[in-house]
């Protein structure tokens, strides 16, 4: 029989004090604890591998029983989404190339020059509070604490700890995550000429597609990240920037040849009138994504979407509203480079007092279904100069 004594109480008290001591040491950074953690992770590695082999069929069977209907619905929704994305892909690719060309012209930083590396997600947080995933590459691949992590859709988090062969990634939905971001206005329909896009779709149609498919910039910027594309420099005068903010493209430029339809080479699904528009296009509109405001995006925990705080509401300059796009802001101290797509504003909540509005942001990336991710090996400017 368990007997309650003063000695027992002392043992419990001593254990709690030990926990507090360990917690303090670890939060302040202790190399001994780091080594112990690394060693234990190594010891756990074979046990986890063996357990994975044994439990994977069980997990699949459970998912097969409990999530079959969800899977069917998701499959149908994905088919619909793919159909929509195919329609915008050509336009999207052209837009990002033009964007990169503009960056090159203006000597601005571009994501294309930053090395990245693909890693596989091998584990997720096993408690109900943290939003952390584990990936199968670590220090040996050049990963460091703080590096941003993206997938095809956009930003998904940052690395918070690394061992030789693994790393932990804190997701953007975790309550401890914060990153400086820019809020960009969605393109205004009335400021953009119509029927000037090579896809043959009007800008209003494109705007609808942006709204329904989480925005073309999602695919575009990460496409550049994925391939590390070296974009053409426009020193030959093939691309010029007009006063109204449009890019005037010379149809004779070699890089544009693939985009010019020829007689008898009608794209499927386009009617004659659309062909006419495409064939005569020489001016391509840049989507006018005006910077509205800077703020801090913060996660709020599992099941809740992140919010942007520290915004100044100044309607005379710009109105923050649902539909605005959110990208990373970069900056001297920021751990993430500028212009990584984050998400789209879906709700604005006004607060009384000087706090400014809160913006609910739906991330482009679905952090609940991650398989492969890409670590952006970015070093903040503040560390580069040291």
């Amino acid at each position: 029989m368990a007997i309650y004594t003063v000695g027992r109480r002392r043992v419990i008290f001593a254990l709690l004090l030990t926990c507090a001591l360990l917690l303090t040491l670890d939060l302040r950074g202790n190399p001994v604890l780091d080594r112990v953690r690394d060693g234990f992770s190594r010891a756990m590695s074979p046990v986890e591998s063996a357990t994975d082999v044994i439990t994977t069929p069980l997990g699949r069977a459970w998912n097969g029983i409990t999530k079959f209907d969800d899977l069917e619905r998701e499959n149908q929704a994905l088919h619909d989404q793919v159909d929509r994305l195919i329609g915008t892909q050509a336009t999207a690719r052209l837009s990002v190339e033009e964007y990169q060309e503009l960056l090159a012209l203006l000597s601005l930083d571009s994501l294309a020059g930053i090395p990245t590396e693909v890693a596989k997600v091998v584990g997720a947080s096993s408690n109900n509070l943290d939003q952390i995933i584990e990936i199968n590459k670590g220090r040996s691949s050049g990963f460091k604490v703080g590096m941003p992590v993206v997938n095809q859709a956009g930003l998904i988090g940052k690395i918070t700890s690394v061992t030789d062969n693994t790393a932990k990634v804190l997701l953007i939905t975790d309550a401890r995550y914060a990153v400086p971001v820019r809020v960009l206005g969605a393109p205004e329909a009335d400021s953009i000429p119509t029927n000037t896009n090579p896809s043959g779709q009007t800008n209003e149609e494109l705007k609808d597609l942006v709204a329904t498919t989480a925005g073309p910039s999602t695919t575009l910027v990460t496409d550049v990240l994925n391939t590390g594309t070296t974009l053409p420099q426009n020193d030959s005068g093939s691309v010029t920037v007009a006063e109204d903010g449009t890019i005037v493209t010379d149809p004779a430029a070699p890089g544009d040849e693939a985009l010019k339809p020829t007689v008898g080479d009608t794209p499927i699904g386009l009617d004659d009138s659309t062909d006419l528009v495409v064939a005569t296009t020489t001016t391509t509109t840049v989507l006018a994504l005006a910077v509205k405001e800077f703020g801090a995006l913060e996660g709020r925990g599992r099941g809740l979407i992140p919010q942007i705080r520290f915004l100044q509401d100044n309607p005379s300059i710009a109105v923050l509203q649902a539909g605005d796009l959110v990208v990373t802001a970069g900056g001297f101290d920021s751990l993430a480079p500028p212009d990584i797509p984050v998400g789209v504003v879906i709700n604005r909540a006004d607060r009384s007092g000087p706090g400014g509005p809160l913006l609910d942001v739906l991330p482009y990336a679905d952090v609940t279904k991650l398989n492969f991710i890409r670590v952006v090996k970015y070093t903040p400017l503040s560390e580069v100069e040291q």
């Binding site: 029989m1 368990a2 007997i3 309650y4 000695g7 027992r8 043992v11 419990i12 254990l15 709690l16 030990t18 926990c19 507090a20 001591l21 360990l22 917690l23 303090t24 040491l25 670890d26 939060l27 604890l33 112990v36 953690r37 234990f40 992770s41 010891a43 756990m44 046990v47 986890e48 063996a50 357990t51 994975d52 439990t55 994977t56 069980l58 997990g59 459970w62 998912n63 584990g123 997720a124 947080s125 096993s126 408690n127 109900n128 509070l129 943290d130 952390i132 584990e134 918070t160 700890s161 932990k168 309550a175 401890r176 913060e298 709020r300 925990g301 599992r302 099941g303 809740l304």
Partner: protein, 179 residues
């Protein structure tokens, strides 16, 4: 000293804890109830308290919690505090009966696990997390606690084995010789 280690609780508790941790991170991440991940390691800590009393329950909870923190990459001690309290509380509740039946042990394990799960955001609050009490906590705590209770018929004997606790045997006093 080696003999003390060999005969102490750690020689069995640590390998069992490692296997449970691996299961927690693989199988039980997939098997969720109402979107809540069942905490089997916390369940073992609470079951250890129900089986062996508050002191050994706290020691088991501390050991399992430190292992959990090391594997999960959390600050060492953050989960250990919660699991220590889970084991201690389940053990303190077990004081009310000399040898709890399985259903009483189930109740003690349930309550201990509930305390441990509630303590997790409390500890996060002290480590600087802005708002760790998420609204789903009202679902998370009951699901984790009830799951721990349901696992207790397996985990209480397992904890007894790990901690080398022998079940109390009630022996009738010898008969007095007839005069």
């Amino acid at each position: 000293m080696l003999a003390a280690i060999w005969q102490g609780p750690f020689i069995r508790l640590v390998p069992v804890g490692m296997v449970l941790l691996a299961l927690q991170r693989s199988l039980f991440v997939e098997i969720t109830i109402a979107g809540v991940i069942i905490q089997v390691v916390l369940a073992l800590a609470a079951a250890a308290g129900a089986a062996a009393g508050s002191e050994r329950g706290a020691i088991a909870g501390f050991t399992l919690g430190v292992m959990y923190d090391m594997v999960e990459g959390l600050p060492i001690g953050s989960t250990a505090i919660a699991m220590t309290l889970a084991g201690a509380v389940a053990g303190l509740l077990a004081l009310i009966v000399a040898d709890p039946q399985w259903w009483l042990a189930m109740m003690f394990t349930t309550l201990g696990a509930a305390v441990g799960e509630v303590m997790l955001p409390v500890v996060r609050l002290f480590t600087g997390v802005a708002d760790p009490f998420e609204p789903r906590l009202t679902i998370i705590v009951p699901v984790v606690a009830i799951a721990a209770g349901l696992l207790s018929p397996v985990f209480v004997p397992l904890a007894r084995w790990c901690l080398r606790i022998k079940r109390a045997e009630w022996v009738a006093p010898p008969r007095e010789p007839a005069l």
